[in-house]
Amino acid sequence: MPVAPIALALLAVALAWPIPLWLAAARWPRRAPGLALVLWQAIALAGGLSMIGALLTYGLLPFGPDLLSGLVGFVSAVADGTAADRAGLDHLAALFGALLLGVHLLLNLILTIVRTDRDRRRHRQLLSLLGRQDPDDPSARILDSPLPVAYCLPGTWGSVTVFSAGLMRLLERDELRAVAEHERAHLGQRHDLVLVAFRAWHASLPWFPVAYRAEREVGMLIEMLADDRALDHVDETSLARAIALVGNAGEQSGLALTERATTPAGTLQEQALERIRRLSRPMDALPTATRAAIVAAAAGLLAIPTILLIVPGLS
């Protein structure tokens, strides 16, 4: 009875469906967004690993008792032309599937990175022609637009934070500070890397509802993490007011309304509300034991498929 392929397949199903749905519905991630983010990354990595691993270990069964000897056996069988005789069609199909899935995921990651980078470069060029330097902060740029917007543009050759003239008119000093610290946290903690990875995952499995939920949830956790960092410098009320004012004003300006139709219902909108709720009713930090359990769960998720793959005798 081959243990590894069956166990890996069961793990892959669990990580593709019930576990991410449970995590997306859980309330505790709002109390510990950093830990939840670690868990999401472990789920995505372990999910991919067990999906490919299940196919690979099953496909290699006729060639050897474990992954390494199976691979060696398969390569030599291919070399002397006996691979098709030794393995049934099901095993060869599984090997082909593993290869296809691996290449598909990798290509999508590369494509997403290239696309994101191209979009950012174009945006940076526009910024350098249209924005002016912030006199108080050399890494920030100011756009002469009446719309109140603030964002950061991460980049390999230095990142930029952008504020619009409309934002600076709308917000008080402490609220502006809250926005600036929030954006600085995004850049400092390299949230863009996590987002690109989940964007790629979603792009490779567009028909897969969990991938969409995961990308959305990760986006929200990142905002909460940046909010928490901003709270080191400003109080909850200033930050909550800044979120509400910028959100409201963006609505009232009436611009970008045409885009609304194409925006999936309530992604950023719900996020803004959720963030303000979180700031207006601060929750206790998670108990240490719970935090440790979450870290252990993330480590376990990565360890189990790795062990199933490499330990001999399990196939």
């Binding site: 910024l127 022609l129 987002l195 979120i243 910028v246 959100g247 309530g266 992604t267 303000i276």
Partner: protein, 118 residues
Amino acid sequence: MPGLGDLERSVMDVLWDSHEARSAYDVQNALAADSERPLAATTVLTVLSRLEKKGFVRRERVERPHRYSAVASREDHMAELMHEVLGGADDRQAVLARFVGQVSPAEAEALRKLLSAN
């Protein structure tokens, strides 16, 4: 010595503010008018060809000297930029991290309530 980015910006400002295509010499003169240190003609040409490569400037090669004009107005580019920032769906968030998105009218009302409770 201003950086290349600043030069590109000043050159674009000249082209945006003029209604017709201008030669590199015109641009050089316009820039010299509002700066005490005039730019070399080669520098202006370099900046113009960089801008052409990036797609911001169009070059007319009908007669010599070649004449340059902006591909789109300043307002069009600002609109493009704002569209990038505000438009699109959540996958925009991977390109640039926005502080907060727009909200629907119903949610705007809920936001106002939350605010007044604070």
